[in-house]
Symmetry: C2
Subunit: 376 residues, 2 copies
């Protein structure tokens, strides 16, 4: 039975885990805390992909403090790993935990990676360690939703973000050049970008807004890299002076998904500008999104922020390839006859899509409404 | 200087005033409280149009309790009236207050009616009574917004209510036949209907939804009448078996605004069905809304709930003839290709309408976002 004290320790472990935000993918964020007699003797987290694991970091931290982990309790946000593999950078954590004489282990949630997934718990129990799982499991689900979505569905977590007027019109879906949403909401978008592995837009959004798709408005001290920038552009209509191409120093790598029969000369010029091109078979409704996501997953992308435009957002919604929808509603009526304005209503053949529970909160002068797909 | 005790007394007076909701128009709701030595000795409110005023009711209540109002404090949500007129049913309240020896009067807000508007306060002060105004003035503004809008702008308070999917599509704007919004939100709509003098829809909404526009889903014990039902139908396209016409017993009187050149035979048949017809000169964008509102104001209508459809709501927004907008966002994506679905974006020639601050709250499974026009 876990106590209130255990809960506080696990919360602290989550706070440690989050220090790795934006740097660990495709690995998960993990935090670990060593406690003996009500006192923290070691803290660790997974600092970056390829770096040491949280459990090992906590053990090393204890030693650096002159503390012995023997007989201590260990709080891990994720099940400790238990396997060795040629593509793995570190020794299994279970071995280190056992060797160091840790007495109890609290685990928020199991590792969905089939090479672990309960194996870590078994290894610890077999060594006579007392193990309790499930403490703040829902926090782990939220923390590593990209990692978990990948293991559950074989694709990255897809978060669609849009800005809309109260009358359902979106203009600057990218939040960059022509703003519907307020500064607070734009900053939130940049904060998301800083945590996501990739940011994705369609050619319509690119033509209308020419976004840079880099993290700028928020502090990046905690963030080692810019997200991958992904463009869906079946006809390769991107202009060669697009900001997304020119801002190579500031932003992440650019990947352009296009149709097989796209202009070869233009492909060459885009390659010369540093973009990577991926050709896919065009479907009735445009590029095959499931294949786009599969390709991204193969590159280690575990989370994608879809920033528009309307057509791309609508396609992900229609094909049920999404996990979270965030719409910033601005105190504005844009009406039906105003420039680039359009709704984001997807072309549905069915009677509409029922969504999961809506959650609303204030975001500056906007109202942010968020939801996930309806379950069951 | 008003005390915390005074504030509590005034709040009680507002609670009394609200007991008249839906029955006092075109008069305002008013509540009054007589207090002596920290004890309530009389309570009154304006129960219905033509009935006795709140102040007189409180004085009569004190007498019925065997209490003397002499030396007491009176809390009024609205400035006591001070004039006599042939169209007025009661003696001026100021005279009654003075005669009864009331010592102090607390008034939330002045009466905007130019025949009072400060005259009540002056009459009381001239009689040596101590008067303080402004205690919970903003509550009075909200309570009698229809009454105040009429005196400020010469037209009723216009409240536009819509139900939208998250992607900005509205179908059943009336909330009656084809529902986007949840039961809680539909009940809220019926609650509004029970407080408003009139409910207004356009012919598009009527054709799509055939709403009854009566108060049904909420208790009507406190409500003496059904709101006037107003239809904007320039071409007189209403079907003679429309529910709005047949449900005469259940609903309020039906007024149809149509264009001058409408079908005379049909007009006759509608008259025979109990509807009243008003012919107006059709403008470029349809019926002249300012004239519609003026006509309604002339009938004593101080508040109108505009329930759609999209075209009518958009017209009121475009012409800046509105005071409150309430949009129920449902957990639903309707998409662009689904039956009667359309957005409510008005046809604007300008760059959009900036709105006042948005306020969001949960309404069952919907999120209700409300705003007023932007000030200044």
């Amino acid at each position: 039975m876990s106590s209130n004290f255990d809960l506080r320790c696990m919360k602290r472990a989550f706070a440690l885990a989050k220090l790795g935000a934006g740097r660990t993918s495709p690995n998960p964020m993990v935090g670990a805390l060593l406690v003996r007699e009500g006192r923290i003797i070691g803290e660790g987290w997974h600092k970056q992909y390829g770096g040491i694991h949280a459990e090992e970091a906590a053990l090393l931290d204890a030693k650096a403090r002159g503390e012995s982990p023997s007989g201590a309790a260990l709080y891990c946000t994720l099940e400790p790993c238990s396997f060795e593999a040629p593509d793995k950078h570190r020794r299994p954590c279970t071995g280190l935990i056992i060797e160091n004489g840790v007495k109890n282990v609290f685990i928020a949630a199991l590792d969905p990676n089939p090479r672990v997934n309960g194996g870590g718990v078994r290894a610890l129990k077999n060594a006579g360690i007392s193990v309790e799982t499930g403490l703040l499991a829902e926090a782990e689900e939220e923390l590593n939703r990209g990692f978990r979505t990948f293991w559950r569905l074989g694709r990255p977590f897809v978060h669609i973000k849009l800005a809309s007027s109260i009358d359902g019109r979106i203009a600057a879906a990218s939040g960059d050049s022509r703003w519907i949403s307020c500064e607070t909401s734009r900053k939130q978008t940049h904060r998301w970008r800083s945590f996501y592995d990739a940011v994705l837009v369609g050619s319509g959004c690119l033509a209308a807004d020419d976004p840079e798709l880099s993290v700028r408005l928020v502090k990046r001290g905690f963030k080692a890299r810019q997200p991958l920038r992904v463009l869906l552009d079946s006809r390769l209509s991107i202009k060669e002076d697009a900001k997304i191409l020119g801002a190579g120093e500031k932003g992440g790598k650019v990947i352009v998904f296009c149709a097989h029969n796209s202009d070869a000369a233009k492909r060459e010029r885009l390659l010369a500008l540093g973009a990577e091109l991926v050709e896919l078979e065009r479907q009735k409704n445009g590029l095959p999104l499931a294949e786009v996501l599969k390709n991204l997953a193969g590159r280690g992308v575990r989370s994608v922020l879809v920033e528009g435009g309307a057509a791309v957002a609508g396609s992900f919604l229609r094909e049920a390839l999404w996990d979270r929808l965030s719409v910033f509603f601005a105190p504005l009526i844009l009406g039906g006859h105003f420039g680039a304005v359009s709704g984001f209503a997807p072309r549905l053949v069915s009677e509409g899509i029922e969504l999961g529970p809506l959650v609303a909160r204030r975001s500056g002068t906007d109202i942010l409404i968020e939801c996930e797909p309806r379950k069951g």
